[in-house]
């Protein structure tokens, strides 16, 4: 496996943003997650929960609610606007002002013709969903006090609105309020504070379920307007509710970080008198659970502690399978770190700024496992602040460290950097070609002479760079247009070391390779069902290696335009089950110049070197055998060793890069550091403390 000098970087203060809202589209199996910074992330549940798309946020956008309508995504927030997103260009398509003050909730009826929004001024506003836009239709009866939550009856004839101290039920036809359900306040000192109905759910059997700030989940009969059952589940707030598709189960998220499940169960067997009974409690969060989704097989929850948790319901899935494992999605599935491997610089991407660091140095030598003393501390060279409200969506630093580029949804900025004897000068390149205005991914060629960018028009822009000006060289439009329905954004770019090839992958799973000399499409890889998560071209052999969300690895020979023998044998023998069970995708692939057979891969919890010269591991053999190999004799070691050398020494990995001087840069972000930056959780009395 070899020994490396490792730069263990922990000074990347990456801080994910709290989850504010979620919406799940059952037909496409896509989950939309809105973060506190206004970013919207799309996860594909059919493809191993891969984070396909990220729509960058804006500092003035506070999303309170999300809503899917037939594959279209709407959001509403405290800015008072309804925004529809363009999921191909990864930016808002348009926004409509509701003129009702801040919007707390948005909900579409099951016929998906109307969009109801609840506003601060006490109105429920109806918007008609048209082909290309939405249009205001009318207001329902205006109430005193804000509308916090909304839920449509599945028939679309009624709509329940959660307010302060009460729930209103409106007739959607006439717009009049038909019922007023008064919600009891909390006991004791909370009696004087008004109770906020954070969430309501309207079921098809005319049952309304509400969750409120007094910690109650209440079941109401919407026909008579009476309370059927009261469940006090927390001392704090019940922030969210979600109902399963068949309406037999409801989950409620609380400020304590628990998710409580209620099930409609027959109290005596064989009878139909279903009662809502509190059953399970899941505690996977430390902070508020703000957003909840009840899929057919799992409870998906997210909140202040920034984690997205997928907790499978064990009565709905097969036990001890990949599906039944608890998943926590902590880190983005794309790298926020870029490394100038010749200059030893690291570029960290934050929503509103970039940080460029020089790595520390050490002159000491040591044994394997030693900690070397740092002679020169790592140094923050530049902090590049983004101007404007839009957040940074991608960034790159050239391998020589002399160029830095980043992009927001509206513009691309390119900087020329000069580092000489401690003097740092940075100069913005003012005249950029007009094709470079909104890109999803940026990449420099290895000799830093070209900048590649995947533009919003599903094309790759190639720009050549010289000393002081950036001349527009070529725009490669045509290549992607020949494939039907592939206007999806390009999320991966990788240039070969020798400057011959450029590989690009989009979220539909298509991977294209361009010949950079001829500036035209060289070949297209067979489309694999799972989305690629990392691609790289081998510097010497010219093979394209791709890792996919379902943990498969392919190697494609660009010369022969076919899968290599190694890739075929890997498919034939299959990957090790433990490898397939990992729940974070490979986010980076790199090669060792000195050992061409070695491939470097990493995900959030492990770092792996695949030695293509060694045999593949058998399914029944141990995958993580590095420790065992150390103890056995060299002869046996040869027999036992296999291609996958896995190192779990580094955890919560954001990035691993191989520098030109054959040292590794490992960027870690320990969870404790993230937790320490979170606000304190609600105080809970713990027994025996």
């Amino acid at each position: 496996m070899g020994e490396f000098v490792v730069h263990r970087v922990r000074f990347f203060d990456y801080m994910p943003s709290a989850i504010r809202a979620m919406a799940f589209n059952g037909s496409t199996q896509r989950l939309a997650v809105a973060r506190g910074d206004g970013a919207v992330e799309i996860f594909n549940f059919a493809d191993n929960y891969f984070q396909e798309k990220v729509i960058p946020g804006r500092s003035d956008r506070a999303i309170e609610a999300l809503c899917w309508v037939r594959g279209r995504l709407f959001s509403a927030g405290l800015s008072g606007e309804i925004i529809e997103y363009d999921l191909e260009k990864l930016r808002p398509r348009y926004s409509v002002e509701a003129y009702g003050g801040p919007i707390w909730t948005i909900s579409s009826n099951s016929q998906e013709t109307l969009l109801g929004v609840g506003c601060e001024d006490g109105t429920v506003k109806m918007f008609e969903i048209l082909e290309e836009r939405i249009q205001f239709q009318r207001n329902l009866d205006r109430q005193k006090g804000r509308i916090i939550s909304l839920s449509w009856h599945p028939s679309g004839a009624q709509i329940a609105a959660g307010m302060i101290d009460m729930i209103r039920i409106f007739d959607a036809e006439t717009g009049h309020a038909t019922h007023r359900l008064l919600v009891e306040r909390g006991v004791g000192t909370t009696r004087n504070t008004e109770v906020v109905v954070w969430s309501v759910a309207f079921l098809s059997n005319d049952t309304v379920i509400s969750g409120d700030s007094a910690g109650k989940v209440q079941i109401w009969d919407a026909v008579t307007g009476t309370l059927i059952r009261n469940h006090l589940i927390t001392k704090w707030d019940v922030l969210g509710l979600a109902v399963s598709q068949d309406e037999s189960s409801v989950i409620a998220g609380t400020s304590e970080g628990t998710v409580v499940q209620f099930q409609a169960l027959a109290s005596t067997m064989g009878q139909e008198n279903n009662q809502w009974v509190r059953t399970r409690t899941f505690k996977n969060h430390t902070h508020d659970v703000r957003a909840l989704v009840h899929t057919d097989t799992a409870v998906v929850s997210g909140g202040m502690d920034t984690q997205l948790v997928v907790r499978p319901l064990l009565d709905k899935v097969e036990k001890n399978t990949q599906e039944s494992a608890l998943r926590k999605i902590l880190f983005p599935h794309k790298s926020l770190v870029c490394c100038a491997r010749k200059a030893g610089l690291l570029l960290f991407q934050f929503p509103d700024h970039l940080e460029l660091w020089r790595l520390g140095e050490s002159s000491a030598k040591g044994q394997a496992g030693d900690r070397l003393p740092v002679m020169k501390n790592p140094e923050k060279l530049i902090q590049l602040q983004n101007k404007g409200e839009d957040h940074i969506c991608c960034s790159a630093v050239s391998p020589c460290g002399s160029w830095v580029a980043f992009s927001t949804v509206s513009s691309v900025r390119l900087y020329k950097l000069q580092l000489s004897n401690g003097n740092i000068s940075i100069k913005k390149v003012s005249k950029l070609p007009k094709e470079l205005h909104s890109v999803h991914q940026l990449c420099f060629s290895s000799d830093s002479s070209r900048l590649f960018a995947s533009s919003a028009q599903a094309s790759v822009v190639v720009a050549s760079l010289d000393q002081l000006q950036c001349k527009h060289l070529h725009t490669a439009f045509s290549a992607f247009l020949s494939f039907p329905g592939s206007s999806q954004p390009i999320h991966l770019l990788s240039a070969s070391e020798n400057g011959n090839w450029l590989a690009a992958a989009n979220t539909d799973g298509q991977i294209h390779v361009f010949n950079l000399h001829k500036l035209k499409l060289h070949c297209t890889l067979p489309v694999y069902s799972s989305c690629p998560t990392a691609i790289a071209i081998h510097p010497t052999t010219g093979h394209l290696l791709s890792a996919h969300a379902d943990q498969q690895i392919f190697e494609f020979s660009l010369k022969l335009k076919e899968y290599t023998a190694w890739s075929r044998s890997l498919q034939r023998e299959g990957l090790h089950p433990l490898w397939l069970q990992r729940d974070t995708p490979i986010t980076h692939i790199a090669f060792n110049r000195n050992k061409p057979a070695h491939v470097f891969l990493h995900d959030a919890f492990m770092f792996c070197i695949i030695d293509q010269s060694l045999p593949l591991p058998q399914a029944r053999k141990k995958l993580y055998n590095q420790m065992d190999l150390k103890t056995i004799s060299p002869q046996k070691r040869m027999q036992e060793s296999h291609a996958f050398k896995i190192c779990k020494m580094f955890q919560h990995l954001l990035s691993i890069h191989l520098l030109d001087d054959s040292s590794l840069v490992v960027v870690e972000r320990p969870l404790a550091d993230i937790v320490s930056q979170l606000p304190p959780p609600v105080r809970q009395k713990k027994f025996a403390t």
Partner: protein, 805 residues
């Protein structure tokens, strides 16, 4: 209301109103493991026992109706109204009793009228279950039966003949233990409540699905839940555990709960009356608490409090003649031996006891009364390890107004080491003003009652008067002579004799090797003798007049005791795993009485209890019992005593219980022991309790019933009269078949028409009750007892007549 409680080899019937034990249902020959009301007749109850029989009782009158012989030890019994004529029992899977595997067996009870019936129709329902009777339960309307193994819940549906199993992981992430401890089912809904080792309660639902079953978790208890019970309507769930807090959960509103804390010892069982008006908890400290459904304690039935261990000596409080020993943690219990009743608990430590294992708390380790009973000295300590030992010596004065002891002086850290002995002088007249304590720190201290020097309003208090030591040896024991003129302190191998008047060391006596373990002065005519037991298995007797060794004998004395009213001394000797008792006079080397192999293990606690009335016994072997009883506590914490033959006869006659025993001198003190021993030896022994309509306790049930019956339902007086006369006649040679006929008749009538049958049976009962008893006990009945019974009947009759007139 009646309360049934399995207690050793008998079932005790208590009145819930008066807390009194009305009678004991006796007949089983081994430990009773379960009591159950007969579902089809709430005036009858089943009991099962390890002797392999199930007995059906009429518990209001204490009559054994029928005995079903099963043939295997029975560990639990269940029945349901749905399953007429069938009971379900837990028996070992294999015939050898050491087997760890148990099965639930359905027994079809034959419907014949004989007294002793052999039930042969057995069919296994569930196999490989837990022997704990709390781990199985009937579900709603007897449709299914649930049984819990350590980590598995099994539900068997009778209709479908199908069972479902649900498994739990051994440990959850936080280290809690998921092992099932007890189980109960909701009476009207399909919900199973299970208690777990880590204090969680799980409510299982949807358990007729292999996969879509679900449960919710309730967690309040911090240690294992030992008992769970739903109220008859199913509105509440009761749970209890080692915290000794009864928790009442509202069904479907589980966040609302009521607590009844400080019930005493750990709750072992909970029972609910069929009408739901009363709850009942039994506790590990030999106590039953009756609780109203508004979660208020209404009555407490307390036996001898069973503590974790007895550390004080057994003592007799001189005023009330009550036995005093460790009771509740931090308390001394005052227990009346005459009435078999706890008088009161005296809180010594005066700190809240926390029910948590492994927590070091203050314990009362030593106590002593002075001769007149006006002073009590107690020692409490915390921490077993010597460096952190916390000691308190407390002196309590008897308050005539309060009729109780009140704290007079607290001496914190009276010694630097653990106190080994505490002794008041025997002052026959006037006030005791001295106390001697010896400690491992090498000193003995004399404490003096003295008026305070400069405060007027406070009464006299105790302070240290003298500190004695001898060659920095550790004193192990001390003893005052009968006239209190001498104090003997045993310093390891050396016995030192001091005069308390001037605190001079008079002489030293020594008999090496072996440290002196126990010292005792002789009484009355033998007061010149000092006896000492050493660790080198010697019992030495010194003559204090000559300061020489009078005699020495080799025996491993574990306890040496002097009778305060006679010259007799008792020595408990440990020999080959069991204890022998020798009673002797110090002057004579010949023992008055000896009893080999009294019990297994060492006897470390015993006491002579002075009799209220002296006995004039001429039997030589029991002469030593004339002045006092001797009570002793065995290692298994049984309290035993010796009684004379005459007393035994009296006892058996009064309790109408026949003791067939060749052992002349020793009989277990049954009344006291039954329950006590049961709980000690068999912590799992089922004491299921239940309650019945109210009835006055009375000596003669038949007359009582007649009196209580409303006049309008009574048959004509002439009919009654003949019945009465018949009932009072005792026919020794009456054939027992007749009885059986009667009973059969009674049974059938009962089944036909409830109210009529009831009345009929009540009337017929006085007639056959005594005869039935004589029938079953005929072989052992002697002429004397017959006479005794007849005498009793006559008494009753005259009293009755007086009332009628």
């Amino acid at each position: 209301m009646f309360l049934l409680c399995a207690s050793g080899e008998s079932v005790k019937v208590f009145s819930t109103a008066t807390e009194e034990c009305l009678h004991a249902l006796q007949g089983h020959t081994d430990l009773i493991t379960g009591v159950l009301l007969r579902p089809s007749n709430h005036l009858q109850a089943y009991s099962c026992s390890l002797d392999g029989t199930v007995r059906l009782w009429d518990f209001t009158d204490g009559i054994l109706i029928r005995t079903y012989s099963i043939g295997y030890p029975i560990y639990g019994i269940y029945a349901s109204a749905k399953h007429e004529g069938v009971i379900f029992i837990i028996t070992p899977m294999h015939t050898d009793t050491n087997s760890e595997l148990f099965q639930l067996v359905a027994v079809h009870l034959p419907q014949c009228g004989e007294q002793l019936v052999e039930a042969k129709e057995l069919s296994a329902v569930l196999s490989n279950i837990s022997s704990n009777p709390a781990a199985s339960a009937f579900g709603r309307e007897g449709q299914y039966i649930v049984s819990a193994k350590p980590l598995q819940l099994e539900v068997y549906f009778f209709k479908k003949h199908k069972s479902y199993s649900f498994f739990l992981k051994k440990d959850n992430q936080k280290g809690g233990k998921n092992t099932f401890t007890c189980i109960t089912c909701h009476p009207t809904e399909d919900c199973i409540a299970s208690g777990h080792e880590d204090g969680k309660i799980r409510l299982w639902r949807n358990f007729n699905h292999r996969k879509e079953y679900t449960y919710s978790t309730l967690h309040w208890h911090h240690s294992a839940v030992s008992s769970l019970r739903f109220t008859p309507e199913g509105t509440n769930l009761l749970s209890g555990g080692v915290e000794s807090v009864l928790v009442q959960w509202r069904y479907n509103q589980e966040s609302q709960r009521d607590f009844l804390p400080r019930l005493g010892g750990a709750i072992t069982h909970i029972s609910v009356s069929p009408d739901g008006a009363l709850f009942c908890t039994s506790h590990s400290d030999n106590k039953i608490t009756i609780i109203q459904s508004c979660v208020k304690v209404s009555a407490v039935i307390q036996g001898l409090v069973k503590g974790d261990r007895i550390r004080t000596d057994l003592m007799i409080e001189p005023r009330s003649k009550a036995l005093v020993l460790n009771g509740k943690p931090g308390h001394l219990q005052f227990y009346s031996l005459q009435r078999d009743k706890l008088l009161y608990n005296l809180d010594i430590v005066q700190q809240e006891y926390i029910h948590e294992s492994g927590l070091e708390q203050f314990e009362v380790v030593m106590a002593a009364f002075d001769a007149s009973g006006s002073w009590l000295a107690t020692v409490e300590e915390r921490k077993q390890k010597a460096p952190e030992l916390e000691l308190n010596l407390k002196l309590w004065a008897f308050d005539d107004q309060k009729q109780s002891f009140v704290l007079n002086t607290t001496i914190s850290a009276p010694h630097e080491g653990r106190i080994t002995a505490l002794c008041f002088p025997h002052v026959s007249d006037g006030q005791t003003t001295m106390l001697v304590s010896t400690s491992r720190d090498g000193h003995f201290k004399a404490w003096q009652l003295a008026a305070p020097a400069h405060t007027e309003d406070e009464g006299p208090s105790w302070s240290c008067d003298f500190l004695g030591a001898y060659h920095s040896l550790v004193p192990e024991c001390c003893c005052f002579s009968a006239d209190s003129s001498l104090l003997a302190v045993g310093f390891q191998e050396v016995v030192t004799v001091w005069t308390p008047a001037s605190w001079e060391l008079l002489t030293t006596l020594s008999q090496p090797p072996g440290a002196v373990r126990d010292l005792c002065f002789g009484r009355l005519s033998c007061s010149k003798y000092l006896l000492g037991a050493t660790t080198s298995r010697l019992l030495c007797c010194w003559n204090l007049l000559t300061c020489s060794l009078e005699w020495v004998t080799s025996m491993d004395v574990s306890l040496l005791l002097a009778d305060p009213l006679s010259e007799n001394m008792a020595a408990f000797c440990f020999e080959a795993g069991s204890t022998d008792l020798f009673v002797f006079k110090p002057g004579e080397p010949r023992p008055l009485f000896s009893h080999k192999a009294l019990c297994s293990g060492r006897v470390t606690h015993a006491v002579f209890v002075p009799r209220e009335v002296m006995l004039e016994s001429c039997d030589e072997a029991s002469q030593w019992l004339n002045c006092s009883h001797l009570y002793f506590l065995t290692q298994s914490m049984d309290l035993l005593t010796f009684i004379t033959k005459a007393e035994e006869d009296k006892l058996t006659a009064s309790s109408k219980q026949l003791v067939v025993s060749d052992d002349v001198a020793m009989t277990p003190f049954h009344l006291l022991l039954g329950k006590h021993r049961d709980q000690l030896e068999n912590p799992q022994a089922e004491s299921r309790l239940s309650v019945e309509p109210i009835r006055q306790p009375s000596s003669s049930a038949g007359i009582n019933e007649l009196l209580q019956m409303p006049a309008h339902v009574l048959p004509s007086a002439s009919f009654l009269c003949s019945m009465f006369v018949q009932s009072l006649l005792i026919s020794v040679n009456k054939p027992s078949e007749q009885n059986k006929e009667k009973e059969e008749e009674m049974e059938s009538e009962k089944e036909e028409e409830d109210s009529d049958g009831e009345m009929e049976s009540r009337i017929s009962r006085p007639e056959h009750m005594p005869s039935g008893e004589s029938g079953c006990a005929a072989p052992a009945l002697t002429k004397e007892e017959v006479r005794e019974l007849r005498r009793l009947k006559k008494l009753d009759h005259s009293w009755m007549k007086g009332l009628l007139d």
